[in-house]
């Protein structure tokens, strides 16, 4: 990437070249804007929502053929059906333990008391008593909300999906960590799994795996498995070479190196992968409800049919609480793996004692009704629902005039011009500009990827829709970065603020979008702006967390030195902390972008039109299926293109700032 040169003149030449690159990129943009009025409206490759291309029709036929041959094809009979049977049996087993009447009993094996006891005990054993208390409180809260059974259904399906994800994901991750070739092979597949909208494969999935827990679990694990693979591979790759060489020189076998050095040393990252897999699985709860997956998702979906924000909020809050509990427990468990000191002498007896107590609770909840079914009417839930309703009504009635003005201003000044530039330019002009920018800001390799992506985007027949979506994506990502920097710096510098804001960020990531989108629709109407806001709510938390982490990672000595030199707060932030956290800023932009793209479909449900609407319509109308699939592919292509350009640009700037 960076060629090492030995002549004295070379550094200066390289400096000039590097300095001029942003200028050149600016020039590309200027030329584009200057050409725009001349070629406006030519070759824009527009396609109206009801129209199809031959490719879309062919995809429809393909889908029909698969459906028609379901019962005669050996792949179905011997592979797919077997997978379905195994996954279905496992999911049903977990459900029968936690949530569904089973083994001829009217209640599951474990009642609420047993579940709370086991959760608290496990949290204590693997993490600490503080998160154990949080976990117990969180689970009791589900009962108080009147959502015990729904929560357990969600927990059961989540656990089943997470278990299978880890069972497959961790070995695959180890393989990807050890083999460069496999890693290269699997990365685009993982990109695909994470950015392909679920709506695209939800209907075919029920055709393959039938309606029921198997389909729900498989839909969830397609989205939830990639983090486990990625982070395991990343963990293995990050083990420094010295200890590996040391063990190998002692004559250890590959297996001994793996189990003795690589796995223990990457344990913390693998736990982070487990954590991210759980979060991803929980974000699928409402989507799985569309194919009859029981649980909190169903409550949300049903409530929204009547725009009952209160009830939807109550169920959404349960999902958030479950996410926070599982997040804190796995994070604390990961942290403990790090500081595994000598356990206190009381720990073992205490473990046994509390273990027995948990078993007793399980027995009670198996036997007695009071410990099996959560008592009470869930009055906390209805109070919460009423509160949420009141807030929503107030916002809709009293704020909407002001918010409509904001919406109009942002649309007029930011979204419309950008969209006009992207959608009304000929496709070849946009393509040429994108390739030029990729090679200037990134690398030749990124430019090659961009060329392929542009070509395939044209091939999907959805070029103009892709450009409309791209315009919204860019605006949303900019907003995410502004919020990311403001809040990231704030909570990165202040632990107290962090403690208050972090649960809000978790809620932004796990609350089912439609719960807050109903009031947003009143505030901003069904518009592209609402779609942008939805994406920002979901994506900003990630950016904020990453930037806060980066700011916190700036070494205290540097901060002290700057303070001693008389820097004020503003100077500290702009001259020391942000520049030092530069890597985090790039990572935040990258992740923010991917998260924004994963909200394109939700945007299509609230007025964004374009690719998001194409996907939704394809899911709802058989005739548009092929077009929806093509739109899903277009979203993946946009994601890969932007991601590769951003990564190459980040590598370039990292190389530039590297001390020589």
């Amino acid at each position: 990437m960076i060629t090492t040169t030995t002549t004295a003149a070379a550094p200066r030449a390289r400096l000039r070249r590097q300095l001029s690159r942003p200028v050149q990129a600016g020039a590309v943009l200027v030329v584009w804007v200057a050409l725009w009025p001349l070629v406006r409206g030519r070759d824009t490759l527009a396609l109206s929502p009801a129209d199809l291309t031959p490719l879309h029709r062919w995809l429809n036929d393909l889908n029909d053929t698969i459906g028609a041959n379901r019962n005669s094809n050996p792949i179905f009979l011997y592979v797919i059906n077997e997978i379905r049977a195994v996954v279905g049996a496992f999911a049903t087993f977990v459900q029968s333990l936690l949530s569904q009447p089973s083994f001829g009993r009217p209640v599951p094996v474990l009642g609420w008391l047993g579940v709370v006891a086991v959760v608290a005990y496990v949290s204590w054993v693997f993490a600490n008593w503080r998160v154990a208390l949080l976990a117990a409180a969180g689970f009791v809260f589900f009962g108080l909300q009147g959502l015990w059974q729904e929560s357990m259904d969600t927990l059961a399906l989540t656990l089943a999906a997470v278990a299978i994800s880890l069972l497959l994901g961790i070995p695959l991750g180890i393989w990807a960590g050890l083999s460069d070739r496999f890693n290269r092979l699997v990365t685009p597949v993982l990109d695909f799994m994470q950015t392909m909208p679920t709506f695209v494969y939800l209907a075919p999935l029920t055709l393959l795996f039938l309606i029921g827990p198997a389909s729900a679990v498989i839909a969830t694990l397609i989205y939830a498995m990639p983090p486990a693979i990625r982070l395991t591979a990343h963990g293995i790759r990050s083990v420094p070479p010295t200890p590996i060489e040391a063990t190998e020189s002692l004559g250890a076998t590959r297996w001994q190196t793996l189990t003795g050095v690589l796995l223990p040393m990457s344990k913390r990252t693998i736990v982070l992968g487990v954590n991210q897999t759980i979060m991803a699985a929980l974000s699928m709860v409402t989507i799985a409800a569309l194919i009859d997956a029981p649980g909190l998702g169903k409550t949300v979906v049903k409530a929204l049919q009547t725009l009952d924000v209160g009830t939807a909020f109550n169920a959404g809050l349960a999902i958030v609480v479950m996410a926070i509990v599982l997040d804190r427990v796995t994070t604390a468990a990961g942290a403990r793996v790090d500081q595994a000191g000598r356990p206190s002498r009381f720990r073992l007896p205490l473990k046994v004692l509390l273990g027995v107590l948990a078993v007793v609770c399980c027995y009670l909840s198996y036997t007695y009704v009071w410990a099996a079914e959560f008592p009470g009417e869930g009055s906390a839930g209805s109070a919460l629902a009423r509160g949420a309703d009141a807030v929503t009504t107030w916002a809709q009635d009293d704020l909407s005039t002001a918010t409509q003005a904001v919406k109009n201003a942002v649309t007029l000044l930011l979204v419309d011009p950008l969209q006009a530039l992207l959608t009304e330019s000929p496709w070849w002009l946009v393509g040429a500009a994108a390739i030029a920018l990729a090679s200037l800001l990134g690398s030749m390799r990124a430019a090659a990827t961009t060329t392929v992506c542009i070509g395939l985007l044209v091939g999907t027949g959805l070029w103009q829709d892709s450009m409309t979506t791209l315009a919204m994506t860019i605006v949303a990502t900019l907003m995410v970065m502004v919020l990311g920097i403001v809040f990231g710096v704030w909570i990165g510098r202040n632990r107290h603020v962090d403690r208050i804001i972090r649960p809000v960020l978790d809620a932004g990531q796990t609350m089912p979008p439609f719960v807050y989108l109903v009031p947003f629709l009143a505030l901003f109407s069904a518009t592209r702006f609402t779609a942008i806001v939805a994406a920002v709510v979901f994506a900003a938390p990630v950016a904020i967390k990453i930037i806060a982490d980066g700011v916190r990672g700036v070494s205290p000595t540097t901060v002290e030195a700057a303070t001693a030199a008389g820097s004020n707060t503003w100077q500290m932030i702009t001259k020391v902390q942000l520049p030092m956290a530069r890597q985090s800023l790039t990572l935040a932009a990258n992740q923010g972008l991917i998260y924004v793209l994963s909200m394109v479909v939700v945007g299509g449900l609230v007025g964004a039109g374009a690719l998001g609407y194409d996907v939704v319509a394809g899911f709802s109308q058989g005739e548009l299926y092929g077009k929806g699939l093509a739109a899903g592919v277009a979203i993946v292509l946009l994601g890969i293109m932007l991601d590769r350009i951003a990564r190459a640009a980040a590598q370039r700037s990292a190389a530039k700032t590297r001390p020589r």
Binding site: P49, A50, D64, G67, R105, P106, L202, A203, T206, L210, I211, G212, L290, I291, D292, V301, K302, Q305, T306, L307, D308, L348, P349, L350, V352, L353, V356, L357, V360, L364, T367, Y368, V369, W370, A371, A372, Q396, D397, S400, N408, L517, V518, L521, A522, S525, A526, T527, F529, G604, L605, V606, G607, A608, G609, Y613, F619, S620, Q621, G622, E623
Partner: protein, 327 residues
């Protein structure tokens, strides 16, 4: 250490016993499991009835009442499955869905599953009439009385401008589940409007609700029967009337949507078995008012589907009786 441990273990056992003993007062699981009852004699010949529930309230009202009657009067074990339309139709072939209770047209699906795959059959009409069209909030119909004639829409187009409509009037479309001809209609009727895709029923309802509350102009695609109409009585705009075949060429459509006679679709296997549940589905029929009543119980009164169904069934014994198979 061992001494310590045994003492702890002793304490545990003591606690356990105490807890267990105090708990003994409670009812045991499985003491009284017989719920429902009554119709168990018939249960044998009805068996399990898999009912698809598509995601809108009107459908849920149908499903609630049919499920209630099937369970209480026929002793069926009803499994409701919450599914989107396309997925429900797929379920006929895989044997996981027995019946769809409210089908809106869907000629493409009928062709695929009834004519080609032969996994589904029609089971008659629900008695509900579906209307699709363009609607305005009631305040507009009162204030601009001639707005309900499409000929006058261009006169008011400027009023409907939004940030999304690019200088033209906005026609808010788009529950993606329904086929729309609106782009062709706008073009062929030479209207100065742009179709904007809201993308979901939620978005459409919220838009109309806000337009009525804030007295802001809105023209949008909507349909009845729909629970929201009992909250805000939207007024339909009259497009050139529908005549048979006027919508044959999708690109040249210049007429209103046809009225849909909503119908019931069942799996072929279910129909051939001709059990009591099938006979109930086939006989089931009620009016838009009936459905709106149950929808209102569910949406506005926030009753559970079971309670809503019970309330309606108790109030309408004669109608229910007509659906039941002859003894």
């Amino acid at each position: 250490m061992t001494v310590h441990f045994s003492r702890l273990a002793g304490a545990t056992i003591a606690t356990t016993l105490t807890v267990a003993l105090t708990a003994c007062g409670g009812a045991k699981v499985g003491d009284s499991t017989t719920t429902g009852g009554g119709a168990s004699a018939q249960a044998a010949n009805c068996g399990t009835f898999n009912l698809a529930v598509n995601p809108w309230v009107g459908y849920e009202a149908d499903a609630a009442v049919v499920a209630y009657v099937a369970e209480k009067n026929l002793g069926c074990k009803v499994t409701k499955k919450d599914l989107k339309e396309e997925v429900s139709w797929q379920g006929f072939g895989t044997g996981e869905v027995d019946a769809i209770l409210e089908n809106w047209g869907h000629d493409d699906l009928k062709k695929k599953y009834i004519d080609e795959q032969k996994t589904a059959v029609e089971a008659g009409q629900t008695g509900n009439e579906g209307v699709i069209g363009w609607y305005v909030p009631p305040w507009m119909a009162t204030k601009y009385s001639d707005i309900t004639d499409w000929n006058n829409l261009n006169k008011y187009a400027a009023m409907f401008k939004t940030s999304e409509s690019g200088g033209k009037g906005q026609l808010l479309d788009g529950d993606p589940s329904y086929v729309t001809n609106d782009e062709a209609l706008v073009k062929n009727l030479k209207l100065d409007f742009k179709v904007v895709y809201a993308g979901s029923e939620t978005a459409l309802i919220q838009a109309f609700r806000q337009a009525e509350a804030k007295k802001t102009p809105l023209l949008g695609y909507f349909y009845e029967p729909q629970w929201f109409l009992s909250e805000v009585k939207l007024v339909k705009v009259n497009l050139p009337p529908y005549t048979a075949g006027c919508d044959a060429d999708a690109a040249k459509v210049a007429c209103d949507y046809p009225k849909y006679d909503l119908d019931k679709i069942v799996s072929k296997k279910f129909a051939d078995a001709n059990g009591p549940a099938y006979q109930l589905v086939k006989a089931f029929s009620w009016t838009n008012d009936d459905q709106n009543t149950v929808s209102k119980y569910i949406s506005e009164d926030k009753m559970s589907p079971e309670d809503a169904a019970k309330k309606w069934v108790d109030a309408n014994p004669d109608k229910v009786k007509a659906w039941l198979p002859a003894k």
